[in-house]
Symmetry: C2
């Protein structure tokens, strides 16, 4: 209900909405309207009230919670099952718990803080409170196992587009799962798959976005940054979430319908390493060469100096300095 | 502690164990010894007490619970984290919840009853109380994704050997995941994998064994049976669990050390369909031919009447009647 009140206030951002209008629209008493307004104010929304005119949403603070997200959902949104937690170990871990309770396709877990956020290969992901977006999406897509890495690339394109829309800044994608701004990592995506030999049962897409952090631990300060640190602006996290959910939904549906070939050019247009000399550190050793692009399956294609082609399924990529 | 008392009673099955001996061995008071004995009796263990002689474990009922299992573990057992539940939706679901809490390698979940036990492709698995073994193993093996189906075959060999040891009956294996007795399904194994593009994070091996059921729902009565129905005997579930854990542990370690080639002949020796004419129903259609065996990766090899070889990764197998 709070989400609906917020929605009504937002539809008339420049004008006043009368308590009577809200009361009629949502079939609740005027007293209840006032209670919801009061609760929203306490969360940080600046809502002006003028007799005979009504309520006016003057300013939205960067409030992230379940109804803040829900109030921005499209009617046909996939992610209707929204779980918000203040502090979690990691949203990926919460996702496993929810799978254990039969969580449906379209579950979104968002946390204000992660005490042990994780990136690829179990590496720590710095996830302090109030500054970043730490979220996991649970999906139950009818896809083949070898397709699941493609979902990371779909999410990367959606996230790059969402950041552009919400902040007007362009970010780049570094294969397979990082978003880069001014040469530094500002977001990461980790797709986990739960499968049996017959099928993919579910997929958890974990996303971390450094939005408003002003400092980073020394150990990662030279490789990681936030949108705010790079631009000297601050951004509303919930607006980025809103744009991401919308972008992801249409890209995901188009991907299911038309295949990865639809996503590939969108991905490559934002890719940082294509055509560049890179070093790929894989579990089986290192490979140097030119990143030629990604295959129709989302695999990185690398050509070494002797002209041999390599298909890279999993690696850390380092851009080599040009001489 | 109950597990340790039980262990001490069992080491001297023919003789009496004095309360003093138990008290000394476990560093607990005589009163505590008596309390544990009393608690075990209430669970169904028949324990005789004679003054000046001590306690004598006359008979073990078919008690399945955490300490009943723990009292039968080897010292170096992998599965030290034992969770017993009376009723669960399915032990696989509980396993996901525990993964969400960071469950370690070597977690064993056993339930007395499953209200929505599941087999392959989400099919129902009839799991009534007090009669069968419903369990899931959580492991965090350092293996490649394509190896995980092999764990189903390792578990199948371990289970066939365990049933032989605990009941003295031979059961057969039907690729990929069923155990067959007198032509009917008496056990099934379902291996689920949790992975990201870099690695296998964890594996859940789910196992259902029909031990003492006397009836089956009409819909499955012609394909499913229990060890008891087929033999007119009843069996101790905990003894089958004990043998399985021991067999699985050494087969699993040998598999990691020597590879699947060590498991393959053990599996093929018990396989029901090898050399037979079968019908393989896959997601992409049906294939008829002779099952030639399994590959070194555990894939089913089928040769059709025109001599073409097929590699079957996932299918329902039907033995065709011989003319």
């Amino acid at each position: 209900m709070k989400a609906k009140v917020l929605q009504l206030l937002r539809t008339c951002e420049d004008h006043f909405v009368s308590g009577e209008h809200i009361s009629n629209q949502l079939s609740i008493s005027r007293t209840m309207v006032w209670k919801y307004i009061d609760a929203l104010r306490k969360e940080g929304y600046v809502i002006k009230a003028v007799s005979n005119k009504g309520y006016h949403l003057v300013e939205e603070m960067d409030v992230v919670n379940e109804h803040a997200i829900r109030s921005r959902l499209e009617v046909d949104a996939i992610f209707q099952n929204i779980i918000y937690e203040d502090t979690v170990t990691s949203t990926q871990q919460v996702a496993y718990k929810l799978l254990g309770e039969g969580a449906p396709h379209g579950t979104l877990i968002v946390a204000n803080e992660q005490t042990s956020g994780r990136g690829r290969l179990g590496r720590e992901w710095y996830s302090p409170a109030n500054t970043g977006i730490w979220m996991s999406l649970i999906m139950r897509p009818n896809i083949e196992m070898q397709q699941t890495p493609q979902l990371t690339l779909v999410a990367a394109v959606a996230l790059a587009r969402a950041i552009k829309e919400a902040t007007n800044y362009d970010v780049q994608i570094k294969w397979p799962n990082d978003l880069i701004f001014n040469g530094k990592k500002i977001a990461g995506i980790l797709t986990e798959m739960q499968s049996d030999p017959d099928r993919v049962k579910s997929v958890i897409i974990g996303i971390g976005i450094n939005v408003n952090q002003q400092t980073f631990p020394e150990s990662i300060a030279n490789i990681a940054s936030s949108l705010s640190l790079e631009t000297r602006e601050t951004f509303h996290r919930v607006a980025i979430i809103e744009h991401f959910l919308r972008e992801f939904q249409w890209l995901y549906h188009t991907y299911l319908e038309k295949g990865f070939s639809f996503i590939k050019p969108l991905w490559e247009a934002r890719a940082i390493s294509i055509g560049e000399e890179i070093l790929a550190k894989t579990a089986n050793g290192e490979l140097k060469g030119v990143a030629e692009g990604i295959s129709d399956e989302g695999v990185l294609l690398l050509k070494d100096s002797e002209g041999n082609s390599h298909r890279i399924y999993s690696a850390d990529i380092h851009l080599l300095e040009k001489e």
